[in-house]
Amino acid sequence: MRDSPHVQDFDWALLAIVAAITGIGILEIYSSTHASGMAGIQWKQLMWVGFGIIGMLVISRIDYHVLLDQAPVLYLFGIATLLIVLAIGHSRFGAKRWVSLGGGPNLQVSELMKLIIIIVLARYFSEVRTDRLTFTDLVKVAILTVVPVALILKQPDLGTAMVLIPVAVVGAFLTGIDWKHAAVGVVLIALLIPVGMNMRHHLKPYQQQRIETFLHPEEDQRGAGYQVLQSEIAVGSGGFWGKGFGKGSQNQLGFVPVRYSDFILAALAEEMGFIGVCVVLLLYLGLILRLVDNAQKAKDKAGMFVVMGVTAILGFHVLVNASMVIGYVPVTGIPLPLMSYGGSATAFVFLALGLVMNVRMRRFVN
């Protein structure tokens, strides 16, 4: 048994999958934008990946136990930042999600909150001594989760807010949960969906429209339903083999909405066909399975929860984003990890992977 962690202990197989996905993403970003005013953003994305890798190395050096020790401080810091964003953050795309870092790149603070919630909930679940979560535990977990969710929702960013929830759900499942509580939870969520639909007037207009559009996509072809329809047209017209790299009309002529970001999978599906989609989704499956493997081999429950927190968020991202592209769920602004263009989102994924490496390289360390 060694006494200090080493970079050699990184999960290189996992990183190979990550590299493959990132590479495909950058190529598709290039294809989607090379003929437009945004030409060249693949280099910016590559830069973000570079920053992400540095962040990953840094975060992997700090023992996750140290991070978990600081969970309450981090949590309060995160909440405070969200409150500041709400107070002073500036709007982009109709939502306050960004905070300006003194002339530097804008950082989406809710991405930071994703990391914090992973750490906070990992700490909480690892302290549970019982086989099953008590009702009090569940309430506490719920409160810890709901506060940042509510603040992010207020920005408003429905997508990122929702992403926090799977961390709690997966954590509760892994800790052990009374089947009655689970049943109540399932029923509650089932009830909340129609209630949420009925409370549409509490949502921002664009959220309402997204839900309306999801329910009746054919009604307003130029509104939000237009986006979904165009995405489906892109995917469907790609066929089995695809139209070829850089040859998707939906993509190249700009019919696919934000084709370099949230809808990059639609752009890829059009140009690379079902085959391309298979490759990408299987790579993601490999990523998830590899992450779960890391969780299984974690030294302690705390490490396991950290890894599974990351897994929950990434898995949720992939599931919701891919479903959105084919019109199975409403458009919520959840990007596809590692492929969608975007600094904060990319940085988050690498930082989260840094946490995973952190856990992995300490599995033999005492």
Partner: protein
């Protein structure tokens, strides 16, 4: 080490494995979703992607021109621009309406209405909002390309009637396809398509109409053209050559310019329609672009019915022209015998009622035989003929000579006219036929009505010995129907001698006489309403007698027959006769010029003896 971090905690391997399996299930479900779109429905979506990408702007095929029998243009088309509204982006469309309203002067409601009408069409099909754009309109569209991308110019071929009113009622007009026609066409027509609406434009629409082409442009998601694809060329409509002779048409039009009525000139041998006039008329150029609603209403409700093609739709009492039917029936049935004579004091009394002759008040015709009765158009003589024939024999011969049913001319909406009979009285009025009615019918009054084209065909039929051809406008009309009716040589000879006399023996149309041409015919002055009613209402212009003259030449086996109706013209021979004469004269002038030309072309060696002009008076007389 913090108290929460204890390394002997068990990792829940089973549950983690479950998460793995669940991930596999989710990915499989997602792949099924993609499979559905990309493999099962890929054709549908490929189609949608193509429609997205390619904007099609129709290239309107020009309608085929109409030519006269010598190839002179009667109707053609000219290029013009229409302003079309692209509908693929409803949002920016709605935003642009105010600006369009101001710039092009089309009200929002009008545009909304047209969008509504086209709402079931595919989104990529534009709507024509302004046909025949003016130079200012075109400039407006060109200068607002950036901020009004929903407007686009489309080159169209518009109908042109270079001779305006000439032949208008027979040519008809074009207009935008009606919703009903569009439904019936099973997708062939789009809103705004121009089709033949009346007359020859309608009858031969399938020939005249071309197949529209398509200009195909690749556009990006904001509708900006990116690249041009190959055009689908328009296939122009085929020309049709008519039997109309422009020269004859022109003289007939000129003669009728200030009159109400109709002229039908026909080649008696072939059924070729040489000239047709209907007055009052309209200018079909007014219809070539969208006709304003109030103008259309005015044309439709005008008491002078300018849209009516009087040649085939005016059903009027034929008056004395009907005496040719009577004479034919009399000679054929020998009841009364041809030797019948009558004394005309200017009136006659039948069934206790007095029937006047047209010379009433100026004496009478005196002793009259058949020839004189035709030449002088003696009513009293034919009252007696009718009394002896009876309505059913009159009806039989009238029907045989083509009255009471359509001639089959190649125009839509031809009327039948009416030949009354006992059966007709019973069927329509559920009453018996009164013998007194027969007396009126004998001189072409009462219930009997005919159209000008029927009378032309009837007279030609008698003069040609019982051959009634189907009149037609199309030069290559396939298999015109020919009805042969049995009339004896003697009958034909006697009746045509009578009609010769009408013009050439000081008859009722003596003023229509032509030098060197065997111009014959029969006049008629038909009451519009009965004498009794007229006397009650007082003499008003609209109750003036209709003047008829049906002339032809030569006397036997005629080449040309011309029926002339002048409504309110009063004197058939004096008013209608000269119009028929003018047409026939031009016909022979042209024919003789042609023969002369041929003779000259054949060389001087045979020019010693001048070639005889045809149809010299008396050439065929015994």
């Amino acid at each position: 080490m913090a108290p929460w971090s204890i390394s002997d905690q068990r990792i829940p391997q089973g549950r983690l494995a479950l998460v793995s399996y669940l991930s596999v299930v989710f990915v499989v479900l997602l792949l099924i979703g993609f499979w559905k779109l990309q493999v099962v429905q890929s054709g549908h979506f490929a189609d949608l992607a193509e429609r997205n990408r390619v904007r099609s702007i129709p290239i309107i095929a020009p309608r085929g021109p109409m030519l006269d029998r010598e190839g002179r243009i009667l109707v053609d088309s000219y290029p013009s621009f229409s302003i079309i509204l692209l509908r693929d982006d409803p949002k920016s469309l709605q935003k642009s309406l105010a600006q369009i309203e101001e710039g092009l002067g089309i009200s929002r409601e009008d545009i909304q209405q047209q969008l509504e009408a086209a709402k079931n069409e595919p989104k990529f099909q534009p709507v024509v909002i302004k046909p025949a754009a003016s130079a200012a309109d075109i400039a407006f569209v060109e200068s607002h390309r950036a901020d009004l991308p929903v407007l686009e110019l489309m080159m169209v071929q518009r109908r042109r009637y270079p001779h305006d009113e000439m032949l208008a009622n027979s040519i008809g007009y074009v207009g935008e396809v009606s919703p009903q026609d569009m439904d019936r066409s099973e997708g062939r027509y789009r809103p705004g398509d121009i089709v033949g609406k009346a007359g020859l434009e309608k009858r031969y629409n399938d020939v005249l109409e071309g197949t529209d082409g398509m200009r195909r442009v690749v556009v990006n998601s904001v509708g900006k053209p990116v690249r041009q694809l190959d055009d689908v060329e328009a296939i122009p409509g085929k020309p049709i050559q008519l039997t109309i002779d422009y020269d004859l048409q022109a003289i007939a039009e000129a003669d009728m310019a200030d009159k109400e009525g109709s002229v039908v000139a026909m080649d008696a041998r072939t059924g070729d329609i040489l000239a047709v006039v209907s007055r009052p008329t309209f200018n079909p150029n007014d219809f070539a672009v969208r006709i304003p609603q109030d103008e259309w209403n005015k044309l439709n409700t005008d008491p002078e019915t300018p849209l009516l093609n009087r040649a085939i739709q005016a059903q009027l009492a034929p008056g004395s022209v009907f005496k040719i039917v009577m004479a034919t029936a009399m000679l054929e049935t020998k009841s009364p015998p041809e030797t019948m004579r009558a004394y005309c004091p200017g009136y006659a009394t039948f069934y206790g009622r007095t029937f006047k002759c047209h010379v009433f008040g100026k004496g009478g015709h005196g002793d009259v035989d058949l020839h004189k009765a035709i030449v002088q158009s003696c009513d009293v003589y034919f009252y007696n003929v009718g009394k002896q024939l009876g309505i059913d024999r009159i009806s039989f011969y009238a029907n045989a000579l083509g009255l009471g049913h359509r001639t089959g001319v190649d125009l839509p909406s031809e009327e039948t006219g009416l030949v009354p009979s006992e059966e007709w009285a019973q069927r329509v009025y559920h009453r018996k036929w009164y013998a007194g009615e027969t007396i009126s019918v004998s001189v072409g009054q009462g219930a009997v009505t005919t159209t000008p084209i029927q009378l032309a065909r009837m007279i030609a039929g008698v003069a040609s010995g019982g051959i009634l051809v189907q009149p037609h406008f199309l030069k290559n009309f396939p298999n015109p129907r020919v009805d042969h009716i049995a009339i004896s040589e003697d009958t034909v000879e006697k009746v045509t001698q009578g009609m010769y006399g009408v013009v050439n023996e000081g008859g009722t149309a003596a003023g229509a006489r032509l030098q060197n041409i065997e111009f014959c015919g029969k006049s008629g002055s038909a009451q519009v309403i009965g004498y009794d009613v007229r006397n009650r209402l007082g003499r008003q212009r609209e109750f003036k007698d209709n003047a008829w003259f049906v002339g032809y030449a030569p006397r036997r086996n005629p080449e040309i027959v011309v029926a002339v109706l002048v409504q309110g013209g009063e004197h058939g021979g004096a008013v209608a006769g000269p119009i028929a004469r003018d047409v026939v004269k031009i016909y022979y002038d042209k024919k003789n010029a042609r023969i002369q030309q041929q003779a000259n072309a054949e060389g001087p060696d045979r020019s010693g003896a001048p070639r005889p002009l045809i149809a010299i008076v008396g050439a065929q007389r015994p």
